[in-house]
C-alpha cells in the first residue's frame, strides 16, 4: 500500500494514543560535576516556577474575586442569586436577571450554532472536496479570529437593524404563537445577542467537533461501509455515534464561550436588567453588565455587586469548561485541542 494511504491509516490510529516520551533518565553529568547539576536544578526550578505561576494565577483570580466582592457577598449571601432588583441608588442588588440573560442568550446561540457547527465539521472532515478543505477551514478560523468588539460594531449597525426590519416581524407573524416573539421590536435584544453569539461560538464548536470526528478510527467507517451503509448512514452509525461524547463536550465548550462573551453582547443586548418572555426584549448578561457599569459604579457596594457577578460568571464558566474538557479529553486522550483552543 503506497505511503500516502498507509500513513493516513496509521495517523488515524496514532491520534488515539497519547504520546508518552519516556521520562529521560538524568544524563551523566559527572564530567562537568557540580556545575551541570546546578544548572539543571536552576532550569528545572524556573520551569516549575512557570507552571506554578499558572496555577497561582487561577488561585489569584478566585481570591481577588472573593475579596473584592466581600461587601455584597456577606450582606446578601445566596439571595444574591435569586433576587431581581438592580438598584444602584438604593444599593440593592440581585443577579437573577443577569444569570437569566446569560443562560438564555447562550442557549439561543447554541440552538442556532450547534446544527451549523456539526454540519460544517462533518462537511470539512468527511464530504469536502480536497481543494475546498483548506479555504473552508480558514474561513471558520477567521470567524474565530474576529474580535468581540468588531462583532459588536457589526451587530449595532448591520445586524440589529436587519433583525428589526426584516427578521423579527417575520418571526412575530409566523411564530408569535409561541410567546417567544412578541412585544416591541427594537432590534437590540436577547435574540440579536443570541444570533451574534451563535456566529461567535460556531467556530469553536466546529473545530473541537472536527478533532473528535477525526479521532474516530477509519476501520469504524469501513465496517459500516462494508455492511452496505450509505454515506449518511456511515456518518450517523460509525462517526457521529462514536464521537458523540466528544461532540457533547464540544457543545458544552461552546456554551462556556458564549456565557463569557462580553463586548458583542453588551453592544446589542439592550442592557436592561429584566426578565421577559419574549426574545425580542432587551436583556442583560453577567458579562455585559460588568463591562457596562463597572467604570461608572456609583458606590463601593455597587462595585462589590459587580465583582460578585464576575465571581458567579467565573464559577459558571469554570464548571462548564471543566465538564467540557473532561468529555473531550476522554475522546482525544488528553491531547490539546488545537487551533482555536
Amino acid at each position: 500500500m503506497p505511503a500516502g494511504a498507509r500513513t493516513q491509516l496509521l495517523n488515524n490510529q496514532d491520534q488515539t494514543a497519547m504520546p508518552k516520551p519516556a521520562t529521560p533518565k538524568t544524563p551523566n553529568t559527572q564530567s562537568s560535576a557540580g556545575e551541570g547539576v546546578l544548572a539543571d536544578k536552576t532550569f528545572k526550578s524556573l520551569i516549575y516556577a512557570c507552571a506554578f505561576a499558572l496555577m497561582a494565577i487561577v488561585g489569584l483570580v478566585l481570591f481577588e474575586l472573593i475579596t473584592a466582592s466581600g461587601l455584597t457577598l456577606h450582606k446578601t449571601g445566596f439571595k444574591f442569586l435569586t433576587r431581581s432588583i438592580w438598584d444602584p441608588v438604593a444599593e440593592d442588588f440581585g443577579a437573577l436577571p443577569f444569570i437569566y440573560g446569560t443562560l438564555v442568550s447562550s442557549l439561543v446561540a447554541l440552538f442556532l450554532a450547534v446544527p451549523l457547527s456539526l454540519g460544517t465539521a462533518l462537511f470539512i472532515t468527511e464530504l469536502c472536496p480536497r481543494w475546498l478543505r483548506a479555504p473552508l477551514s480558514t474561513c471558520v478560523e477567521l470567524l474565530a479570529a474576529i474580535p468581540s468588539v468588531i462583532y459588536g460594531l457589526w451587530g449595532i449597525f448591520v445586524l440589529a437593524p436587519l433583525m428589526r426590519e426584516y427578521v423579527e416581524p417575520v418571526l412575530a407573524k409566523y411564530m408569535g404563537w409561541t410567546g417567544l416573539f412578541g412585544g416591541h421590536m427594537y432590534g437590540y435584544g436577547m435574540l440579536t445577542a443570541g444570533v451574534i453569539l451563535a456566529i461567535m461560538t460556531l467556530p469553536y464548536i466546529a473545530s473541537v467537533t472536527r478533532e473528535v470526528i477525526m479521532a474516530v478510527p477509519r476501520p469504524q467507517r469501513e465496517a459500516a461501509l462494508a455492511l452496505g451503509a450509505t454515506r449518511w448512514e456511515t456518518l450517523r452509525m460509525a462517526v457521529l455515534r462514536n464521537a458523540r461524547v466528544g461532540i457533547f463536550g464540544a457543545i458544552i465548550l461552546g456554551l462556556g464561550r458564549a456565557m463569557g462573551e462580553t463586548m458583542a453582547v453588551t453592544m446589542v443586548i439592550g442592557n436592561r436588567p429584566e426578565i421577559a418572555r419574549s426574545l425580542f426584549a432587551p436583556g442583560y448578561t453577567l458579562a455585559s453588565s460588568i463591562a457596562n457599569e463597572f467604570n461608572e459604579a456609583t458606590s463601593a457596594v455597587h462595585t462589590s455587586a459587580l465583582v460578585e457577578m464576575a465571581l458567579i460568571l467565573f464559577a459558571l464558566t469554570l464548571i462548564v469548561n471543566a465538564i467540557a474538557r473532561l468529555l473531550v479529553w476522554s475522546i482525544t486522550r488528553g491531547m490539546p485541542a488545537r487551533g482555536i483552543a
Binding site: 516520551p21 529521560p24 544524563p27 551541570g36 544548572a39 539543571d40 532550569f43 520551569i47 516549575y48 505561576a53 499558572l54 496555577m55 494565577i57 489569584l60 481577588e64 451549523l116 454540519g119 460544517t120 462537511f123 470539512i124 483548506a134 473552508l136 477551514s137 480558514t138 474561513c139 471558520v140 477567521l142 470567524l143 479570529a145 474580535p147 468581540s148 468588539v149 468588531i150 459588536g152 460594531l153 457589526w154 449597525f157 448591520v158 460556531l202 449518511w232 448512514e233 465548550l253 464561550r257 463569557g260 462580553t262 463586548m263 453592544m267 458579562a287 463591562a291 463597572f294 465583582v307 464576575a310 460568571l313 467565573f314 464558566t317 462548564v320 471543566a322 474538557r325 488545537r338 483552543a341
Partner: protein, 288 residues
C-alpha cells in the same frame, strides 16, 4: 431461500442520504455567509476613512469631525508588546513543563488548570487585574492592561508549546543525552529550536487573540483621548477606541470606528493567514 432484505437500495434510504448530505453541505455555505458579510461591511464602511490623518492624529474633541486613532494604535502596540513580555515566557515555560516534566498526575493538574484559565472570560481576568493592580495603585495604567492581556495569552501559548514539543521525537533528546549534554541544555539548545516554528506560530495566534481583546482593558488601561506612552498611566488602545466610538452618538465617530475596525482586523487576518501559510509548510504538523 428467500432473502430477508431486498437486493437493491430502497428509495427512502437514498432520499434520506441525499437530504442529509445536502443539509450538511449547506451548513458549510451558511457558515461562510456571516464572515463575508462582516469583512465586507468593514471594508465597505471603513476604507473611505483610511487617510493618513487617521493613522497619525489623535481624536478630535467630541462632536468635531476629524482626528484619528494614532494614539490608540500606538497604545495598543505598547500594551501588546508588554503583554508578550508577560505571556510568552510564562507560556513557553509552562509548556516546557508539561511536555518535559509533566507526563504524570501533577502535570495533568497543571494541564487542566491551563485549560481552565483558557476558559475564564476575559472580562473576569480584567476584573481580577483591576483588583490586584489598579485598586492597589489607585490608578489605571498601561501596565495593568498588559498584565491582563499577558495572563490571557499564557494558556494558548502553553498548550500549543506542549503540543509541538511532544512532536519532537524522543530520539533527538536521547541523542543529546548520549553526547553528555545535560537536561537543561538539551531542552534549550536542542528541543526548543527544533520546535521553534511551531512555538512561533502559537505565539502569533495568541497575539492575534489578545490584539482584539477589549473587556479586560476597560478596567485596566481605561483608555485615553491623548497621547500616552508611559506605562503607569491610562492609555488608549485600538479595540477600546472602537468600542467607545461605536456606542457614541456621533456619526463621524461611528465612521472612524469602522476604519479602526479595518485596521485591527487587517492586522489580525495578516497574522492568521501567515500562520496558516507556515502551517501548510509543515510548521505545525498535522494541524489541519
Amino acid at each position: 431461500m428467500p432473502k430477508l432484505i431486498s437486493e437493491t437500495l430502497g428509495f427512502r434510504r437514498r432520499a434520506v442520504n441525499a437530504i442529509a448530505l445536502t443539509l450538511i453541505a449547506s451548513a458549510a455555505i451558511v457558515v461562510t455567509t456571516p464572515l463575508i458579510a462582516i469583512l465586507g461591511t468593514i471594508v465597505y464602511r471603513g476604507f473611505s476613512g483610511l487617510h493618513w490623518s487617521f493613522l497619525t492624529q489623535i481624536p478630535a474633541p467630541p462632536g468635531e469631525v476629524g482626528g484619528g486613532m494614532a494614539n490608540a494604535i500606538a497604545g495598543s502596540g505598547m500594551i501588546l508588546g508588554l503583554a508578550c513580555l508577560v505571556g510568552i515566557p510564562l507560556g513557553i515555560g509552562s509548556g516546557v513543563y508539561l511536555a518535559e516534566y509533566g507526563r504524570n498526575r501533577w502535570g495533568n493538574i497543571v494541564r487542566f488548570t491551563a485549560d481552565v484559565l483558557n476558559g475564564v472570560p476575559s472580562v473576569v481576568i480584567g476584573i481580577t487585574v483591576y483588583a490586584l493592580v489598579v485598586a492597589t495603585q489607585k490608578h489605571f495604567s498601561m501596565l495593568a492592561g498588559a498584565i491582563a492581556l499577558g495572563i490571557i495569552m499564557i494558556p494558548t501559548v502553553c498548550r500549543t508549546t506542549e503540543e509541538v514539543l511532544l512532536m519532537v521525537p524522543q530520539a533527538i533528546r536521547e541523542a543529546a543525552f548520549g553526547l553528555g549534554i545535560p537536561q537543561w541544555r538539551t531542552t534549550l539548545s536542542v528541543v526548543l529550536p527544533t520546535a521553534s516554528s511551531g512555538i512561533v506560530t502559537s505565539v502569533m495566534l495568541a497575539f492575534a487573540r489578545i490584539a482584539g481583546e477589549t473587556a479586560p482593558l476597560l478596567f485596566t488601561t481605561l483608555g485615553n483621548g491623548f497621547w500616552n506612552l508611559k506605562p503607569n498611566q491610562p492609555t488608549a488602545a485600538l479595540p477600546l477606541q472602537i468600542y467607545t466610538y461605536a456606542i457614541s452618538a456621533y456619526d463621524d465617530w461611528h465612521d472612524q470606528a469602522w476604519t479602526g475596525a479595518l485596521v485591527l482586523i487587517a492586522l489580525i487576518i495578516a497574522i492568521v493567514i501567515t500562520v496558516r501559510f507556515a502551517a501548510n509548510r509543515g510548521a505545525l504538523k498535522g494541524a489541519y
